[in-house]
Assembly symmetry: C2
DNA sequence: AATTTTAATCGTAATATTGCAATGTATTAA
DNA sequence: TTAATACATTGCAATATTACGATTAAAATT
């Protein structure tokens, strides 16, 4: 189908996969790293930095914004983007809890 | 296009996005959580646990195995899967470093 | 007002992902 | 040897994602 059957998974599993999916493209990883480094920047700066066309960057920014990980501020004809710190921290908590799962004390099978 | 231009990103950015992509589907998150909880289990158990068809589970397992996050052990007609602990830890290091990026001391734009 | 600048949106082509029925393969059981 | 079991693989349909040219929208500049 190509359609994830979200209703058969827990809210937590769906949330983790939604966060992970947005990190599943190197352009979005690069955008986020640049925003962390530069702290805030205009959309046009990202177009120059990343090297994809402006509509493509705009589309990636839209996805990051839709998940709440960044916010955009209109300044004249430009839009200044930055990390949404509270939401980033909340996401981090969910993801790190998933990554930090520990095996039980039993041995593995292999 | 639908094609990520991996050559325009750093190895680190590509690696992060590859790991993230495999977590970008709730079925694979559920498989991993079950393996962590149960420690090791047969493919058939996962089919019952998750509720997707056997070929679908098999395909998700293949992707997890291809990235090295799980390993499979043939036992008779069954295959026992478990977390690949060393590789999981290595992945965790990369992902947590990404998630733990800190903003510079400057204020954000918004 | 006309032009320029910046970015969002639309439309569309190319490609990737997901899911599963059907089938293949290897091992065990009868 | 035949049948049963467990899983992988193949093939394909449905859907999602990615990229970008063309266009639109809004504000700033001339």
């Amino acid at each position: 189908m190509g359609l994830a059957k979200t209703e058969m998974f827990t809210d937590q599993q769906n949330e983790i996969s939604l966060f992970a999916k947005v990190f599943g493209h190197p352009a979005r990883v690069a955008i986020l790293q640049h925003l962390f480094k530069i702290n805030s920047c205009f959309c046009g700066d990202l177009v120059n930095e990343i090297g994809l066309a402006q509509p493509t960057i705009s589309q990636h920014l839209k996805e990051l914004k839709h998940l709440g990980l960044i916010k955009g501020n209109v300044e004249g004809t430009s839009v200044c983007y930055c990390i949404h710190q509270e939401n980033w921290t909340a996401m981090k908590t969910v993801m790190i809890e998933f990554l930090n799962q520990d095996l039980t004390e039993n041995q593995d099978c292999c």
